[in-house]
């Protein structure tokens, strides 16, 4: 299933440009890809390892600002800035993850929520470094002197990173480590009884998902040429969790689908700009009430049931 799915995704990504008519549509596609990368990581944390994070936009923001500041204020080559920011955020996630992941359920939700808000407030307030609420400019990405600009080129870069991320995630899930994470989600007590150290694995899932969020954040910053603190806001964290839960927990393709649908939907709704919040809220509520497993697993189950029906 997953190999066929991966090929289907690769085909879709390769053929999509045929349907993209102008720079705006390319832009939306790129945004979908970047969100999908974050969502895949978040899905590993929520759907597989069974934890929760209501502050993941904080990692996204830190990655974005980290890379932006290193490149813009300290003149680092953007690629080095991007890599360093991702590594730095991973280390931060490792440090705060240790105490925080001892918490469970609503308490963990509160802790991650608090962390996210602290990050977004700090980013908005320390304006000497970050440019404050109005944000700061970010130099474009360049590899060996070649400047990467333009939506078409960025599309292929994001597509490549996305496919790479999906491939890594699928491998991970199908490995003993992936099973260990899913065991943790299934029953933490039983996982301990078969030798799985809950603390170590929760931390690994947390750091990995933070790294993906930070990397995607940094890419976003260099792509847009600009970054604002709203990227680290509570609302953004909620949007990310909604994409994961809507698309399907414990489903990598679900994460991609969720990111795709919930990123493009508001674009169609700009006509109904005033109703955007009402519709977003309604979508969140209705999907969770009627499709609590998420879109992709619900469809998979429906297909499996249909196949089993006697003709």
């Amino acid at each position: 299933m997953s190999r066929k799915g991966f090929i289907a995704l690769a085909l879709a990504v390769a053929l999509l440009p045929l349907a993209l008519t102008n720079n705006y549509t390319y832009d939306v596609a790129i945004l979908v890809g970047l969100n999908a990368i974050v969502c895949i990581g978040l899905n590993l944390l929520i759907g597989y390892a069974g934890q929760i994070s209501l502050g993941h936009a904080g990692f996204f923001g830190l990655g974005a600002y980290g890379s932006a500041i290193l490149a813009a204020r300290y003149g680092w080559p953007p690629l080095a800035a991007l890599a360093s920011a991702t590594v730095a955020v991973s280390i931060i996630a490792w440090i705060i993850g240790k105490p925080v992941l001892r918490l469970k359920g609503h308490y963990l939700a509160m802790a991650t929520l608090g962390l996210g808000i602290i990050v977004s407030v700090v980013l908005a307030t320390e304006d000497r470094i970050t440019g404050g609420p109005d944000g700061m400019a970010v130099p474009p990405l360049s590899i060996a002197g070649f400047v990467i600009q333009g939506e078409k080129l960025w599309y292929w870069i994001v597509a490549a990173v996305l496919l790479g991320t999906v491939w890594l995630a699928l491998n991970l899930i199908d490995s003993p480590r992936g099973r260990a994470w899913r065991a943790l989600h299934g029953s933490e007590v039983a996982a301990g009884a078969i030798g799985i150290d809950p603390a170590r694995h929760k931390l690994a899932a947390f750091v990995l998902s933070a790294a993906l969020a930070a990397g995607a954040g940094a890419l976003t910053a260099h792509y847009s040429g600009f970054i604002t603190p709203s990227k680290a806001s509570f609302l953004h964290s909620i949007e990310l969790v909604t994409m994961v839960v809507f698309g399907g927990m414990a489903s990598t393709f679900g994460a991609v689908v969720g990111a795709a649908i919930l990123t493009t939907l508001p674009q169609f709704l700009t006509v109904f700009k005033e109703y955007e919040m009402v519709l977003l809220g309604a979508v969140m509520m209705l999907t969770m009430i009627f499709m609590p497993q998420g879109l992709v697993p619900t469809l998979e189950k429906a297909l499996a049931a249909a196949r089993r029906k006697p003709r």
Binding site: V100, L103, H106, I117, V245, L280, M284
Partner: protein, 291 residues
């Protein structure tokens, strides 16, 4: 005590009273249904905004306040009936998303039904500041503190002396046993949501003369109320009150003495610290998982 300190303490207590009311709302709903109602802050918003709207139509303040609380209570009933009950057996994450979705929905509706401007309620008994020990006190502050104390007493009486209140407590301790005793859990849930909504709306009305109201004040208030409830130990009424007051004082003192730009952050930093060192809150019970 320096006048400045008194000033900050009063501000902290006022803020704390509001947080306490919001936190109580969280605690009541959590106890009855094990749901964290992320839309709690929106009840505060509805209280203030509806009251302001009613006052604009010419209604005298007390009637406007009562009408606003009634509106919020109705919204609370609807939330329980339409969003929470259908998803009764869902996982923690799913329920969190549902209530967050509800809060976004309510905020969107508020911006449509009313507007995105800032509104104010007239102060209950005038604006002339009172002087205490060199610090100035707004009369509204006395209303906030007084009303909160009265509300807490009324709630205590409700939970310990009335049948409905005791039924709610029974459900929070052991849902199955309560059902077997003939208590309608569905009604208990409805009452809990309605009650929490009313508390939130009251808080919104009390604070509106001082810090105004608008369509999006619910977000931060809700999050901080949640933080206060966690600080006090999720599910504990006294804990929620203590947590709310503590949070208000921390915020006021921090904003006054340390940094007003980081006002919003103090609460969350303290919460994080508390969670890491006191994983079950100030008054929460340590539960052991039965295997």
């Amino acid at each position: 005590m320096s006048a400045q300190l008194v000033q900050f303490l009063l501000a902290g207590l006022t803020l704390g009273a509001i947080y306490a009311l919001v936190a109580l709302g969280f605690a009541i709903i959590y106890n009855a249904s094990h749901v964290i109602n992320f839309a709690q802050g929106e009840f505060v918003m509805i209280g203030g905004m509806a009251a302001a709207a009613f006052v604009d139509t010419g209604l005298p303040l007390p009637l406007a306040a009562a009408a606003a609380i009634a509106c919020a209570t109705l919204v609370g009933f609807l939330l329980e009936k339409l969003a929470v009950e259908p998803a009764r057996n869902a996982s923690v994450v799913t329920l969190i998303i549902i209530t967050i979705g509800a809060s976004i929905l309510l905020r969107g509706l508020a911006s449509l039904v009313w507007d995105k401007k800032i509104h104010a309620l007239p102060a209950f008994s005038g604006e002339a500041p009172i002087s205490i020990g060199g610090a100035t006190l707004l009369p509204q502050t006395l209303w906030v503190l007084g009303a909160t104390v009265l509300t807490v007493v009324a709630l205590w009486w409700f939970f310990n002396r009335t049948l409905t209140g005791k039924a709610i407590l029974a459900v929070s301790h052991n849902r199955l046993a309560a059902q077997l005793m003939g208590i309608s859990v569905r009604r208990v849930l409805l009452v809990s949501f309605g009650l929490s909504a009313a508390l939130g709306a009251l808080a919104g009305i009390l604070i509106a003369p001082i810090s105004f109201t608008s369509w999006d004040i619910g977000v931060m208030l809700g999050l901080k109320g949640f933080a206060a409830a966690i600080l006090g130990g999720l599910g504990s009424g006294p804990g929620a009150i203590a947590g709310g007051l503590a949070l208000g004082l921390i915020e006021a003192l921090g904003a006054g003495y340390l940094s007003s730009a980081y006002k919003d952050v103090f609460a969350f930093v303290i919460i994080l610290g508390a969670l890491v060192f006191l994983p079950n809150g100030l008054a929460g019970r340590r539960t052991t998982e039965r295997v």
